[in-house]
């Protein structure tokens, strides 16, 4: 499927992946320090495993360098 991540077109081999899986697939460095926006809405971290990404979705991975962590 094709999605957009941080404004760039990206191909993901598997469709319907969760946000947690996508962070791994895209080799996001320190995923626990990232906030994710899906189609303009910030996603609560508790939903990362449930919420699925679909064809055409637009995601933003947002970083707050140095000192953010999962809690």
């Amino acid at each position: 499927m094709q999605i957009r991540i941080n404004g760039e077109d990206e191909q993901v081999a598997k469709s319907g992946v969760s946000i947690a899986e996508l962070l791994i697939l895209k080799k996001v460095e320190s995923p626990d320090m990232v906030s994710v926006q899906l189609n303009g809405e910030i996603i609560d971290r508790s939903q990362y495993h449930e919420l699925r990404v679909h064809e055409g979705d637009e995601l933003d991975f947002l970083y707050f360098m140095g000192g953010g962590a999962f809690s």
Partner: protein, 410 residues
């Protein structure tokens, strides 16, 4: 990793150093180059995990922030130029004109001065109550209260408030509880477990490892839902649970510019590794000196939370895992006697700092609190007869000897 010192030694930044250095080097530089125009745009938008400019982030400082985060168990950490910068950045992030903060008159003199003399004229109301009286605290909170601020052990009054009782109130009222934990550090007091929302540390003190450098740390413990904060609500829409960190990193801290120097971050990461060992010795020495001073006829009073007669002994014992910090105060007959006694010191140094490796003596009334009128000093719990000892890690018999010889001259 479970042990505090194991974490202090092994925790830190992501990834392996390019040369395999076991200690993150000092990145003593201002700017970081990106591979393209698009990459620098993404970095500015926070969509690329990279450093751009050392006023905002820096790899050596990030390493210290990561260590503090892992040691505290919090959600986010930010290193700043000093402990006072940590307090001012925090209050400016949480509050605006027309808001109020609830705090105690028994806090560090410069902190009180920041609140009353620097921030109050900008429209921040400062409400002073006793943190030992949760009812007073609850009554002082209203819809414009942006924070309740206290110190884990007040300096120099050495009062200890019941943090769990206060956090029950602040949680119910949806107001963040902000604690200056400088004199206990996450080693002796786990702010997150006691319901604190923002922990502030002057890393100049125990963390720096012997007064090597000035710095401050701000920790979001992860307890507070920033969606409940009128000022930070909008940040949750763009930054989720990192709203507090994002508001600082992308606005307040960035714009104020009180960033930590990479060299100081390096020294403080080094200091952290031995911090628990130093704190244990400092606390042990402080208890012994407090007991010694309490036996001396020239001393009219001794205050140390580790003494059973201290009004705060029980709550301190519960909160601080049976250790009571390195600060104590004692009184002599007069200010003149205090000065005469200070002048006899040969090992103990006359200096204004706390939690150095060296034991330091200070007359708070004529120094930290000198800007306040005498009547106000009394209200602030600062007596002209009071001396403060910040107890270091020397061999205690040498400290006892120094004090003993000084007292004999009075």
């Amino acid at each position: 990793m479970k042990g505090f010192t194991t974490k202090a030694i092994h925790a830190g930044s992501r990834g392996r150093d390019v040369h395999g250095a076991l200690r993150v080097p000092v990145y003593d530089c201002v700017a970081f180059e990106q591979e393209s125009g698009r990459a620098i745009q993404l970095a500015f938008e926070g969509k690329k995990p990279t450093h751009t400019y050392s006023r905002i982030t820096n790899p050596t400082i990030e390493d210290l922030e990561q260590k503090m985060l892992q040691l505290s168990g919090g959600r986010a950490a930010l290193a700043v130029a000093s402990g006072m910068a940590a307090i001012s950045n925090t209050i400016l992030t949480l509050a605006g004109a027309g808001d109020n903060i609830v705090t105690s008159p028994h806090i560090f003199g410069n902190t009180l001065s920041l609140f009353e003399k620097t921030l109050q004229p900008w429209g921040l109301e400062v409400r002073l109550v006793s943190m030992s009286d949760p009812v007073q605290v609850a009554d002082a909170i209203d819809s414009r209260t942006s924070a309740v601020f206290l110190e884990s052990i007040t300096n120099p009054q050495l009062e200890v408030a019941d943090c769990k009782a206060l956090s029950r109130i602040t949680r119910e009222k949806k107001v963040p509880l902000v604690l200056d934990n400088t004199v206990m550090t996450p080693y002796l007091f786990n702010s997150r477990e006691f319901g604190v929302d923002i922990e502030i540390l002057s890393s100049t003190k125990y963390i720096s490892g012997g007064a090597t450098s000035v710095g401050g740390i701000i920790i979001d413990t992860g307890n507070f839902d920033w969606g409940c904060s009128a000022k930070l609500h909008s940040w949750t829409k763009t930054s989720g649970q990192f709203a507090f960190l994002a508001a600082m990193r992308r606005e307040i801290y960035r714009n104020i510019g009180a960033c930590m120097s990479p060299h100081n971050a390096y020294l403080q990461s080094l200091g952290l590794e031995t911090m628990a060992l130093r704190i244990d010795k400092s606390c042990e020495n402080a208890l012994e000196l407090a007991r010694f001073l309490a036996t001396k006829p020239q001393v009219t009073g001794v205050d140390y939370p580790g003494l059973k007669k201290s009004a705060c002994h029980l709550i301190a014992r519960q909160q601080f895992n049976n250790k009571f910090g390195g600060l104590l105060t004692f009184d002599l007959e007069s200010k003149e006697r205090c000065f005469a006694f200070m002048d006899t010191m040969r090992i103990i140094r006359r200096a204004t700092n706390v939690n150095d490796n060296k034991t330091l003596i200070l007359h708070p009334s004529s120094t930290i609190f000198s800007e306040f009128p005498e009547k106000r000093k009394t209200e602030l719990g600062v007596r002209p007869t009071m001396l403060r000892l910040s107890v270091g890690i020397e061999d205690v018999e040498d400290l006892v000897d120094d004090l003993e010889k000084g007292l004999r001259t009075l």
